[in-house]
Symmetry: C2
Subunit: 358 residues, 2 copies
């Protein structure tokens, strides 16, 4: 008998590359090209050395109160964690215990099946329609739970609140998790599942500070749901690690939420760059769905995505390519600054021209 026979063998999630110390254009992990609100840096500078010696608030009460006020819910409806991945992992562990398979789309955030495997949760995928939208009828079945992102990743497609509600309503016997990592970029008409919270006790809405709030480096995620759901989540969190969010992340989170004007200004800026980039990519022969996130999911009518991915990388422009069924001819391109997008577009234009000539 060897100790290795007792090990949990898993195939981990592969995050996007994080090239260090090189002059690259990084459009591969949906980071925000702008710095966080100035108040964030100020709040961090004000931490006194002796504060680091003490444990942070295990309940993250000040941050939870701040988020509760922002969203117009009670503090007991808010759960926080080390990025939305931590929040989602805790939610899988807490809510998906029926023995029945949980359901999620076939094309979606590629961490869902990894968590299911890690925690030995049975799961089934439901194929998105040809246009990559969700058919809510696929989720009208006796299941162990449902999870999907809205807008979806990596497609960027936003589902209507009616579709989301149809799925939540069909599943009173299971938790439904709506992963809204990108909802802040949805723009006009984009409605959050938060609007459904009053009516459904089994709905958990997950958010992150990593994208819209320019705080990927701080690891701040949260969930909003019924008081009952949050109490169950808190119990599991306190059975895992009492002190998850460190002091700087709690302080930074509060300072970010306090500057709504900066937040809205940066969102408008990014959405405007996204829409302009869509027009330019269309001109270059790219097809894409109407992304309502901070990335574009594009396919060229002549050049294979993998070829473009490699050519871009060679040129120091990192985008994301998934070698997976249905999406292996697409690139996921994060929306950066106007300048970064101009460099990308100029390279693509030259590359496509050069290929036609040769």
């Amino acid at each position: 008998m060897n100790w290795e026979e007792n090990v949990r063998n898993v195939v981990p999630y592969t995050p996007g590359e994080q090239p260090r110390g090189r002059d690259v254009i990084k459009l591969n992990t949906n980071e925000n090209p702008y710095p966080p609100a100035p108040g964030v840096t100020e709040a961090l500078m004000q931490i006194r050395p002796e504060e680091y010696s003490l444990y942070p608030d295990p309940d993250a009460d000040a941050l939870r109160e701040c988020l509760a006020a922002y969203h117009g819910v009670g503090k007991e409806q808010v759960f926080t964690g080390v990025g939305s991945d931590d929040v989602l992992a805790m939610a899988f562990l807490t809510f998906f215990n029926s023995g029945k398979p949980i359901l999620f789309p076939d094309v979606t955030y590629s961490f869902y099946d990894v968590w299911a495997e890690l925690f030995r949760i049975p799961y089934e995928t439901r194929a998105l329609r040809e246009d990559f939208t969700i058919d809510p009828k696929d989720y009208r079945t006796d299941c162990g739970g449902v999870v999907f992102p809205n807008p979806n990743a990596p497609t960027g497609i936003l589902e209507t609140l009616d579709t989301v509600e149809e799925i939540v309503r069909a599943n009173p016997g299971a938790a439904v998790i709506v992963d809204e990592a990108y909802i802040d970029f949805a723009g006009i008409g984009g409605r959050s599942a938060l609007d459904l919270l009053e009516r459904y006790e089994n709905l958990l809405v997950v958010r992150t500070f990593s994208k819209s709030r320019s705080l990927a480096g701080m690891r701040i995620g949260y969930a909003i749901g019924s008081e009952k759901m949050i109490a169950y989540l808190q119990d599991v969190k306190f059975s895992f690690n009492s002190y998850t969010m460190n002091l700087p992340s709690q302080r930074a989170g509060i300072a970010s939420v306090q500057d709504e004007a900066y937040f809205q200004k940066r969102l408008r800026q990014l959405i405007s760059t996204r829409e302009r980039t869509k027009r330019e990519l269309g001109r270059l022969g790219f097809a894409f769905s109407d992304s309502r996130s901070n990335f574009l999911f594009v396919s060229h009518d002549e050049i294979p995505a993998k070829e473009l991915f490699e050519a871009l990388k060679e040129a120091g422009i990192y985008v994301r390519y998934f070698e997976k069924p249905r999406i292996d001819n697409y690139l996921r391109i994060s929306v950066g600054t106007d300048e970064a997008m101009d460099t990308l577009l100029a390279f693509l234009e030259r590359y496509i021209e050069g290929r036609k000539e040769s």
Copy 2:
């Protein structure tokens, strides 16, 4: 069928109270009374606002290299996490999967059974001897793994390297985790299980920056083991949350390790206060084991611990009391500054005198 039927019901760990905004003497969670090395604050001040927008290094390579060099091991032998609780939770999930019970002492860190319950790992406890030391023979049995702290918590007792080795050697079929949260306070003659690493592939040694390095607020823990063990841990970590340690915690960790002189100076200071406090407590009628940690585990020959706990709390002096078998007449008192210990001792002296008179 209701969604609540699928919830994982657990009884969470209860961390020590974190009283906020009150003028209290906090000797209840084994925090370090001194600030971290000056280089830590400097390193944090030097983070540029735009760095927060990017994901932190998911591998924490720079910190792992720094710790590897410090301990004279390879980088691939180091694993990091959000405090040692995160590291221990990952280690339980990774290594304790045999279906056979894992073993730990009956009096020990009260998170072990919580993790076992959370992950549905069967477990059995082994009674410490009457003097609260471990009998290594208790761990010579076919089991799913072993975990214990050295020095033990909440007793503060340091086991010899021979005892530790006997347990590791007896269990080639299972992982043995030695939780060395307090080893830096062991002082002269205190030997770490790191000295056994070359000979045992199944040994994992867990450390934290929360106690000896005054960084409880940053959440930095790590483990050192064989390359094989660390690779398995990394796979599980990357199946749980790619980006666990945030940017400030990685930078702070490195800066702390780089100032060895400050580290040693503060350790000497704390150990000297501990030894003085032992002498004074003895004079007041307290009995205690020879703590080699940054806390004392004491019992009075006349006054029940619970009464003292409540009287101290009333006076704004927070210590820890565990209402548990074998230890319900003990107080765990963290070692603070000389000034804090003087206040504690003066209160105890007055209290004991006052009780005799009445």
